[in-house]
Symmetry: none
DNA sequence: CGCATATTCAACCGATTGGTTGACGATCTG
DNA sequence: CAGATCGTCAACCAATCGGTTGAATATGCG
């Protein structure tokens, strides 16, 4: 029953993992380089990266013996949408969501998706 | 060292707590009424509410013997700002909305979509 | 007062989390 | 090939999490 939102929010709830995401915002990085600024073992960082990857927040590609980590910001989209439903569309109930969805059908789809 | 962001994201990482927030979006509720639809003890819900309150996502005011719970959506702002730094996520994204409806509200997919 | 209602507290439990260390497989390099 | 580097795996640990139950604390009511 654990939804994607569970996993994404849980992944974001750790400051080390958020800092890793911030680092990856600037450029792709190897696991060892991700670990370098942190005062913890490489294995610990490797676990954090696995959690971020499981949440879809990063992707990892192995080239040679180096595993490159790449930010995947689209994974934040569902979480962002969930949060927006509280601020911007108040009051939001199920009917409002459905009405909103119907209204959005007339808008062009983002081609980058 | 645990930042406000840690606490907010951790609070959001539980489906019971997200459902509580969704319920409170419609109206303020007493603790007992919040607990009613869930298949768990009142004490468990009381704990969940304490976690939401600690994150600032709800406020609780006792009137008589009833403790009223009120959504405080402003607490989502810091988290939202953090996420926006990774790219602008249109809150009105159709795909994300479909995912949201399917996962969180357990609605059948509209065949016309 | 005496009882029901609303909520929390305290103790406990099993599962998960975030970290460690040491061994290991895989890959590059001299 | 031998040795160094990259990263994960496995076992372990203390702390936290999400739940339970039963007792306790307020508060409202007849």
């Amino acid at each position: 029953m654990t939804s994607a939102l569970d996993i994404v929010f849980a992944a974001l709830a750790d400051p080390t993992r958020r800092e890793i995401l911030r680092m990856l915002l600037e450029d792709d990085m190897a696991v060892t380089d991700v670990a370098e600024p942190f005062a913890m073992s490489l294995a610990a960082i490797s676990k954090h990266l696995a959690i971020l990857a499981a949440a879809g927040l990063i992707s990892q590609e192995k080239r040679g013996r180096v595993k490159w980590c790449k930010l995947e910001p689209d994974a934040l989209r569902a979480a962002s949408v969930w949060m927006q439903s509280f601020g911007q569309f108040e009051p939001v109930n199920l009917d409002a969501f459905e009405a909103f969805l119907a209204q959005e059908l007339h808008l062009p789809t983002d081609p980058e998706l």
